[in-house]
Symmetry: D2
Subunit: 356 residues, 4 copies
């Protein structure tokens, strides 16, 4: 099945299990003569890498990426780019206990039922470790989009703690362990999350991704609207439970005259007076910022005892030891950026054909 | 581009403009020997049909569907099913005024920029009239899913007015003009929406779709998770701005032990004690009810004057006369049901191949 | 299943049965602002139309095509183009006898076994009547390719009678009933085929399609080589049993130095001294003429008694009355041209993305 | 672009350049719980491996395949299978001379024009070395097809030397260096090909692949006929210039009553009296042997001087030194088997959905 592929022209296919030998992806449809090297991709991967602060999993993976094909003398050749990351710090024995039990909130039960077999080590294919390859592919997508299109993500809610949008400062995002754009939240969030962690628990989060500089015209009518493809891409990230474009759910409460963005022309430029739409009209980018928000559920692997069932259909309970993120939403920020880049790059290339 | 197609095995491709001669679709991948006739499909279309109450557009379309291929002696033959609805009540002159102006909140500007040409009559391809064919395809999808899988939709919020979930009664849904499951809301909503309409305005809405009886195992890992495909399908409906699965955005605030559904075994059956996940784990259906919510923005075509720009880049204003829904979210209920049916039917057929 | 679709960007999906109400297709991916009307498409259809000479079936179909969507004010809008031809001269009763018998050489048995049901009237979906829509789609593909690319077909062998390649004159092709480029063959072929027909029999044929003016660079490496996609497109035409590119099977006998086309540069142009390759190197067009040949088997519907089996597994025999082509290869000429146009248009649009 | 992928359910995506670090592929859609290990795949690869006799290239590659994902405890898990072969004996300096020249009969010119860059080392992506991954994927396809379906290939013509079909003995095929089924040819072919090789030249070949035990019903109507997909798969093999199903080009000369296979019923079995069709009717397998023939052109890399042009558009000449097969058609036998297996496995899985 093509569950492991995304995109029509810019096509990413990932493979690999959390505790297998390696993870990788093939990226097809990259135009030729683009400069790409391993260091460039690595800077993207390093933002997502585990073990970087006390707020993420302590698994130590350097996530060193290697380019195996499609790049020659530092330039893309137009042929498929194969990327690989070898796994290093697999502690598979951590998972022996869960071999026969279904962890609540995890894919153990559904994989077992669908396939009749599962690689239980670290969640196998269902592990969030799979997202490393999304980030690597996102790095290449970013190159295709060029310098004018900027994709930036931020954590805007951690558990019950929300940022104050008035304090938003993109420059803060890379200065703290949360990708938080509101400086005033950082200390509060640190205390909050350490407490959650100490209690062996976890919380969810809300992330916003903003893509600016996107040209008018990306997205295809009806089923491949830019909104629809972004929703698919974002909702495919592990643990994501909701996606919004622009005003999102809030738009339900608004009236037509409050919501539809008025249009003006000034200084030889057409512009919109507001951006309630989040940068898309009729499924096609309008030239405004694309604004996507998404909700990540709390990590299901926690140190608290939970009721469950084993492979023999016996009632039992489980405490998931391993090494886990108290808020998997933090590392979802670079993953969300990557997914937006992947979707936009594909629509960008698809749109070449509308120019006749 | 394949923006007009959805699905991998059960594949729906729609065509047609709001004020063109006809609308239609081709449905590929329908197994043979399924009983289907025009009356059956018509019952689905009639739920979405315009002009049925004072709360929807007054355009009079009987939306009579015709089967042109793929069905022989009342049974599917396994070949593509072609469906058509001829348009009748096109008042294209209503649209003469908007020929040269971009309606705020509509696709006029983005289509014009993307294609350099647009069928401005009634929104052309971007019109919500396109959703008639989604409903027709959904009827066929429903047949494939069989009697055990039930897909039902309801309006749970109209503008600022929410239902009380405690009053939920599925039987009420078809007894009022709103697909509202809370009897106590109906009168309030009537008054509210008539007032909105009288003011020449509109409001948004929130819809919930529940699919029960879905077997464990639908959905493909990574990019074609059931959540991702539902999000794509739902977000592709015109005017939709947000999608949630299960707890959705609320899950951001929860802790791991509050959110992950515990598992038990009793009376020879495995079951979950709660359904925060909305029926999916790791992107694969768990056998619980699939619960999807989505937000519809307020209709952008309103009788209030709005600032905009014309094709000559002059500042101007517009009042969209035509015949419009004061809350397009109402008729989005059967459309949402149809999209869920279409996505599930495709995943259902795809899943046949995992059984070896 | 997507058996009824072809193409990745320029995507054609056909539907309809030989004796159903209508035949049609949806064409996606057509760039906007291309001038297209029904008369233009009709000129292509008229070349394939049945009942035009005593050498083709006597079924009378005017094959009038109607555009239902995607064209506005005579120009394409970038949205799906829906085409339809209503059937007129269906004599379904002709087929009553074959309802329960499998015609040798036809798809009756395989459809029955695959689907457990079949529309037996005129071969249903398996009828060569389906190719009308390929020709209509080919007309639109031709527009996309533009005036510089010319696609022309000719019948080069009728049964055992071959043309003399030295007499090849493209101007002759449209002056006889066979699309024959060798004037000296026409009378011979007439006598030959009338005799075959009088005997209630049929013969096969070989067709050559030449595409000139094709730019360098069409085709994608490995599995979507231009050769591979042409082979697929041509072999999908009913009754085709073989496809060759350039020297084809003859190349097996040659030595490397005889076969590989040498390259020269003169008058500011790179050129090849020969065209054994048929216009493709490594699966990518080289700028030379694309040369495709294909073999069509003799019509299986003949007036001679043939042994077969009925639905009750009884041995019996059959004479296929109906109205049939004594050489279905003749009308395969415009169908072959159409398929080459469809494949090239798709590769042409796909190739836009290699230009960065 | 998806040129590097083939298949709809059973989907193979290959990557890698001839002289890059490694070659690999991802195989999606493999049902779970199938036993697969590296040794099993290796037996297939070893049949294609270079350097095994004096009639193939002397490049020494052990082509050791490694499974990186999708297999757990010796069984497939339903997730993507990633295979890799590291290159060892790359003598890239052999190719320094051709860096700036276009080898006649090769893809050098077309890749350079399409992409503006090319990995010239050993033909890069266009090298026949790419077919190693087709063979590996074919091994897995063979597992899916099961023991009842047997796919066997043979070389039936080497240059001008044809086998005598009366001497056909499948057991001979693996006893000589040519996959030749006619024992009487072997000595003749050895002398013939050694002479060709000594002269620094090469010849083409014709290969037949037979698939027996294929169930009725594989193939999808219209564009995805089994014939069409086989033609695409086979024609995508480097150097292939022609494909035939059943009688192929010979069928052009036959009459309807000679060509259409008569049907009989005996001993509770329906059967055909002949197999002119090559196992397919209306694009759907009939249960008879599938018979595919294809022509391979002579290797273009020869030790004879050939006229060509360099990157500066200067007329020059070239002798391709490197290490080359005097008849690349020999190693095309296992590659042809693999492609037939890949196509059939995909159609086999697709056909699950027609069973309702």
């Amino acid at each position: 099945m093509s569950g492991s592929s995304i995109g029509q022209i810019f096509k990413v296919t990932t493979w690999g299990e959390s505790h297998g030998e390696a993870l990788g992806c093939i990226i097809e449809g990259v135009p030729s003569n683009i400069s790409i090297n391993e260091n460039y991709i690595q800077t993207f991967l390093d933002r997502r890498k585990p073990g970087q602060s006390k707020f993420t999993t302590q698994r130590k993976e350097d996530d060193k990426v290697k380019i195996l094909s499609g790049v020659f003398d530092g330039k893309t050749t137009g042929t498929p780019i194969s990327l690989i990351i070898f796994n290093k710090d697999q502690k598979s024995k951590d998972y022996d206990e869960i071999k026969d039990k279904f962890r609540p909130g995890h894919a153990d039960y559904t994989y077992q039922m669908k396939y009749g077999i599962r690689d239980y080590r670290g969640g196998g294919r269902a592990s969030a470790r799979e997202t490393a390859m999304r980030v690597a592919a996102g790095a290449i997508a970013t190159k295709i989009l060029g310098e004018k299109i900027k994709i930036k993500g931020a954590l805007i809610q951690l558990g019950k703690e929300k940022i104050n949008e008035c304090n938003w400062d993109w420059k803060e995002v890379n200065k703290n362990d949360f990708f938080c754009p509101d400086k005033t939240c950082v200390k509060v969030w640190e205390d909050y999350l350490l407490k959650i962690r100490k209690e062996g628990s976890s919380v969810g989060a809300i992330i916003q991704i903003t893509a600016s500089g996107v040209p008018v015209g990306l997205g295809e009518p009806v089923f491949s609207k830019i909104d629809a493809l972004l929703a698919k891409g974002i909702m495919s990230i592990p643990a994501v439970k909701g996606v919004e474009i622009g005003n999102g759910f809030k738009s339900a409460e608004l009236r037509g005259e409050e919501n539809a963005d008025e249009i003006r022309y000034k200084n030889k430029k057409l512009f919109f007076e507001t951006n309630n739409a989040g940068g898309t009209l009729g499924g096609i980018s309008s030239g405004q910022d694309i604004i996507v928000k998404f909700a990540v559920k709390p990590t299901s692997s926690i140190l608290r005892e939970r009721k469950t069932v084993n492979l023999k259909n016996q009632n039992t309970s489980i405490i998931t030891k391993g090494r886990h993120d108290p808020c998997v939403g933090i590392r979802a920020v670079p993953v969300g950026e990557a997914m937006v880049a992947i979707i936009l790059a594909d629509l960008f290339l698809l749109n070449q054909n509308n120019k006749n």
